[in-house]
């Protein structure tokens, strides 16, 4: 051994058995930590499980096909059809704007954005809106759309406020989905003499579709449950009985029209809790909450399923 080998050479005495109990303390600490960490995971599941169970039980006997398809009533259990319709309608209206703009914005951020002041500002804006309280966005919609534009409480005002609120999320999720496409694929396309846009259009976006769909569905879940933004923009009231045959979207009486107030399911829950009357108020809220949660579940499972199917389709033979 060389000169600088020092004094604590490799210990030559009896070696501890590998099964020895060296460092019992640290092993015990490790065991304890493992148990605690498993515990936290289990706790999350427990909380979610009991919430789902709670609503499943509360909704038992309340939720039925007629609960979903009937108009509300004060004297009977009635149904939630109009508010459920509004939720879906608002979702569609919001996604109609948020998805294309978010996707295109995501393309810019993932594919074009350089390191300059404008991109920096976009990122800052994106992060800012995501952290602005939804109620502030709602109030902003109230002044701008409802009052200044004289739209009053309308689905359009609500959808626009929701779009503002969710655009950053949509953009971020599309950006992530696009960035997840391996650089190799871009290089391969560009090296073949495809232009940048051709590469995006024919290689990057198709490959990102599973991620994009997941993004859309996750955003949809959030839009579906939002209430604070809508309280001050789309209105809070009892919707009239809708006539779905009225397809004239410029007519405020048509359920297809964006120029009418639209109380959504989550706003309806808030309203019933605040000023609901009638014997079935609590059951209706429980049932509505159960439906909201189920929709969120469906959105999530759907996102996973669609994402998996699409990516399998894209990658497998």
């Amino acid at each position: 051994m060389t000169a600088n080998a020092g004094s604590i050479g490799r210990s030559s005495g009896a070696k501890p058995s590998l099964k020895g109990k060296a460092s019992r303390g640290s092993i015990l600490a490790d065991r304890a930590a493992t148990v605690v960490l498993w515990g936290t995971g289990a706790l999350v599941l427990l909380i979610l499980g009991s919430i789902i169970l709670h609503f499943a039980m509360a909704a038992w006997g309340v939720v039925s096909l007629s609960f979903i398809l009937d108009n509300p009533s004060q004297t009977t259990l009635g149904g939630i059809m109009p508010v459920l319709w509004n939720s879906i309608y608002m979702l569609a209206l919001t996604m109609l704007i948020a998805v294309p703009v978010g996707l295109l914005g995501g393309i810019y951020m993932a594919e074009y954005a350089g390191d300059n002041i404008v991109t920096g500002a976009i990122r800052f804006a994106e992060e800012s809106i995501s952290s602005v309280p939804s109620i502030v966005v709602g109030l902003f919609g109230l002044i701008l759309f409802v009052d200044d534009f004289h739209w009053g409480f309308t689905a359009l005002a609500g959808a626009l406020a929701l779009t503002f609120f969710n655009l950053p999320l949509m953009t971020r999720l599309s950006e992530q989905a696009l960035r997840a496409v391996p650089q190799d694929e871009r290089s391969a396309s560009l090296a073949l003499g495809a232009t940048k846009w051709q590469t995006i259009r024919h290689v990057v976006v198709p490959l990102a579709i599973p991620g994009l769909i997941t993004g859309v569905i996750l955003t949809a879940g959030r839009v579906f449950g939002e209430a604070a933004v809508l309280l001050f923009t789309a209105g809070i009231g009892t919707p009239p009985h809708y006539n779905f045959m009225n397809l004239d979207i410029t007519n405020p009486t048509s359920p297809w029209s964006p120029f009418r107030p639209a109380t959504t399911l989550s706003v309806y829950i808030y309203k019933l809790n605040s000023e609901g009357l009638g014997a079935f108020k609590n059951q209706i809220v429980d049932g509505s909450a159960a439906i909201l949660i189920s929709m969120v579940l469906i959105f999530n499972l759907g996102a996973r399923f669609v994402g998996r199917v699409l990516s399998r389709k894209l990658t497998a033979s």
Binding site: S189, L190, L192, A194, T315
Partner: protein, 287 residues
């Protein structure tokens, strides 16, 4: 082009070069020069990765770039088709001429350049689409949509890449990803051929492949040399010795900037290198 079998003394013990090659004159007639770089330096941000490299590549020849990891081989290779443009922070100085035209100039269309200078990567990277669509991708982007012409082109390209027989039966059904590694790499070559390039750049095209596939790719390169100019980066010195006409040896200085130590006919580099560094490297003293 008939191959004159003037093979240099075996380079490493037991190296059996399958297709002996002519030692190529480096100082060639200017007309034959396909690519010439002059004082090319490339940096990533402040960090210089390649310093002041000047060399020329003959038309229809194979140039191998060898050197230790990090010596800038890949970086240098990417300047031929301006793929460095895509790397944020990368900047290239100097001239890179393709057929006498400096491709670094601002008004050069990189799209056109990359059609003429194709590239094959280390990891086979077929697109997740059918084999047919993989090959037709480049032509389609060039605006070729005629069914018949496309079919012909796909077939010719796959044949040239020695893949046709293995895939012809489910060209349109099978995904490019369902092929084996070696087949995928040949598919990537076919895909490049379909855009009708003049130069093909290959960055360690066989390093992710098994021995049999590697030999196959090497064979293919020798065939393609008849019609294309090829620049290949390789870690495998035997591979460089086997396939290339000219070898360029890169290493890096203390500041870790890569530079060209020497370039010359492959036989000469592997038997009588003029630089001690080259000798140390190919003799395995480091690297």
């Amino acid at each position: 082009m008939p191959i004159t079998a003037v093979y240099p003394e075996p380079v490493l013990r037991r190296v059996e070069v399958t297709a002996p090659r002519a030692a190529v004159q480096v100082a060639a007639r200017p007309a034959d020069i396909k690519i010439a770089t002059e004082h090319v330096s490339i940096s990533y941000g402040d960090k210089v990765a390649v310093r002041d490299v000047s060399l020329t590549v003959q038309d229809r020849s194979i140039l191998a770039l060898i050197g230790p990891s990090g010596s800038g081989k890949s970086t240098f290779l990417r300047c031929f088709n301006r793929m460095n443009d895509l790397i944020p922070g990368a900047s290239v100085k100097g001239e890179v001429c393709l057929d006498g035209e400096n491709v670094m100039e601002a008004d050069v269309s990189v799209v056109e350049l990359r059609r003429r200078v194709g590239m094959v990567f280390q990891r086979p990277n077929p697109f997740p689409m059918s084999i047919y669509e993989n090959v037709a991708y480049g032509p389609r982007r060039r605006g070729l949509n005629d069914r018949r012409k496309l079919n012909d082109l796909v077939e010719t390209s796959l044949k040239r890449a020695a893949l046709w027989d293995e895939v012809k039966d489910d060209l349109r059904r099978k995904s490019g990803l369902a092929l084996s590694g070696g087949q995928q790499q040949r598919l990537c070559i076919a895909r490049v051929l379909a855009t009708d390039p003049e130069v093909i750049l290959m960055d360690e095209p066989a390093s992710a492949l098994d021995p049999v596939s590697t030999l196959r790719i090497e064979e293919l390169m020798r065939e393609l040399r008849e019609a294309y100019t090829i620049v290949i980066v390789t870690h495998n010195m035997q591979q460089a010795a086997r396939v290339s006409d000219v070898t360029a040896f890169f290493t890096m200085a203390d500041d870790r900037a890569g530079y060209l130590v020497e370039v010359g006919p492959t036989g000469q580099i592997f038997t009588r290198p003029s630089e001690q560094l080259t000798e140390d490297y190919i003799s395995g003293r480091f690297g």
